[in-house]
């Protein structure tokens, strides 16, 4: 059964059509890579999938129901890593992760070792985020994916500023997620070695 299905999605911003007729569907274990030129609307598409940007026309359905029917339930099922890391320079790594956990509705600060080990952040746990390098911040941002087990990952250029080792770890994490029946949508134009089950090329359709 299709978990996430997108039908004839349109994105219009400031009176301009960015893309239209975007349709695809994902089931458990699927990995979709969305490619396209600059300004073709990749990020907009991902933000629409996350429910951050209104859908101009068409539908996005989760488990057969439009996501707008029960946004809160849908949000519990997804993690979004955009091109901003969403980290606060003033907090430590531990505080950041606990804050994210809280935002995801989990009251208790739980065990963080599991999600820290995936991107090698154990040694940095009590460091203030201010002192982390760009790559380390990105790894911290990505570790949010493993904080709570959710079925759908939405990633916007996840490979940015990662070194080779970390990129391999990212690919491993994504593969493991898919092997466990999760779904991943990646927007990227860098080949970091992901083996998608589906590809989607965004092209700029004639504007109206």
């Amino acid at each position: 059964m299709d978990m996430l299905s997108v039908q004839s999605l349109v994105c219009r911003r400031n009176g301009k059509t960015i893309f239209r007729d975007v349709s695809f569907s994902l089931k458990g274990g699927d990995m979709l890579i969305i490619t396209g030129t600059n300004g073709s609307g990749k990020t907009s598409l991902l933000r629409q999938l996350a429910g951050l940007l209104p859908v101009s026309a068409g539908t996005i359905a989760w488990e057969g129901r439009p996501i707008n029917d029960d946004m809160s339930a849908y949000r519990q099922c997804l993690q979004f890593v955009g091109h901003l890391e969403a980290v606060k320079a003033e907090l430590t790594v531990r505080e950041t992760l606990n804050y994210w956990r809280l935002l995801h509705g989990q009251e208790k600060p739980g065990d963080l070792t599991g999600c820290l080990s995936v991107f090698d952040l154990e040694g940095l746990i009590d460091q203030p985020v201010r002192r982390l390098s760009a790559g380390q911040k990105r790894r911290l941002g990505l570790s949010r994916l493993l904080l709570n087990p959710v079925p759908l990952w939405l990633l916007d250029e996840p490979g940015t500023s990662l070194d080779k080792d970390s990129a391999v770890k990212l690919v491993d994490a994504v593969n493991r997620h898919c092997a466990n029946g999760g779904m991943v949508v990646v927007v990227t134009h860098h080949d970091i070695g992901l083996k998608p089950t589906q590809n989607f090329q965004l092209t700029r359709k004639a504007s109206v």
Partner: protein, 220 residues
């Protein structure tokens, strides 16, 4: 409830770590107060009569600076996306943020108020009335300011729009707040004015977070 307290604790921690920002705000407040006697002339009677109004103006100016950053920082570093993506109700998250800002501003003001009162030659009783009017008025400022800050973030406009939109809402709060201190100076009852301030606050407290959340949802 416990969840809310945890959110609030986190927001307060974030505010508390912005030490230089708070120092700037408080310094700004004190500078305005210090400069006033030079501009108005050193007549103790005149100064102490004008003091409540002057302090309130300084608070309003300071709050414009503080509110500008309420959601802007979150929008810039991407945290706003996470807040909007949270399965928790957005008004709750907004309320926690606004409450943290209120607590921070009131704490800072209560620390600075004796100094400001001293510099402007206010009596203790007058100072107490002013403190009461600030305690009731500043939360309303921040609640309204939160709405406007959310709107300016949503339409991606800066401080100019914030100031322009906020000023009309500040006027009623200012009028009732200063009326209370005036009434006390004349020897009248301050109750009606403070009650009116409290009424404004009670009106805003449940509504403002809902409107703020609705405005934040429009941002992309």
């Amino acid at each position: 409830m416990k969840l809310f307290l945890r959110l609030l604790a986190n927001d307060l921690r974030l505010l508390a770590r912005h030490k230089s920002e708070w120092a700037t705000l408080m310094l700004f407040f004190v500078t305005v107060i210090v400069l006033l006697p030079f501009a108005l002339g050193p007549e103790p009677e005149l100064l102490s009569r004008l003091a409540p109004g002057l302090i309130w103006i300084a608070v309003l100016l300071m709050s414009l600076l503080a509110l500008d950053r309420l959601f802007l920082q979150d929008a810039r570093d991407g945290t706003l996306d996470l807040i909007r993506l949270s399965p928790l109700p957005l008004p709750l998250l907004v309320f926690s943020k606004v409450m943290a800002q209120i607590i921070g501003m009131l704490a800072g003001l209560m620390l600075m108020l004796p100094l400001a009162g001293l510099l402007l030659g206010m009596e203790i009783r007058q100072l107490c009335v002013l403190a009461a009017s600030l305690l009731l008025g500043v939360p309303s400022l921040v609640l309204v300011g939160g709405i406007v800050a959310a709107v300016t973030v949503a339409v991606q406009r800066g401080t100019a729009l914030l100031t322009l939109l906020l000023t009309p809402f500040y006027i009623p709060i200012l009028i009732f707040a200063v009326a209370a201190t005036d009434a006390s100076a004349m020897g009248g009852s301050i109750r009606p004015q403070l009650l009116l301030e409290a009424a404004i606050l009670c009106f805003l407290l449940p509504l403002a977070p809902l409107v703020t959340a609705a405005a934040l949802k429009q941002s992309d």
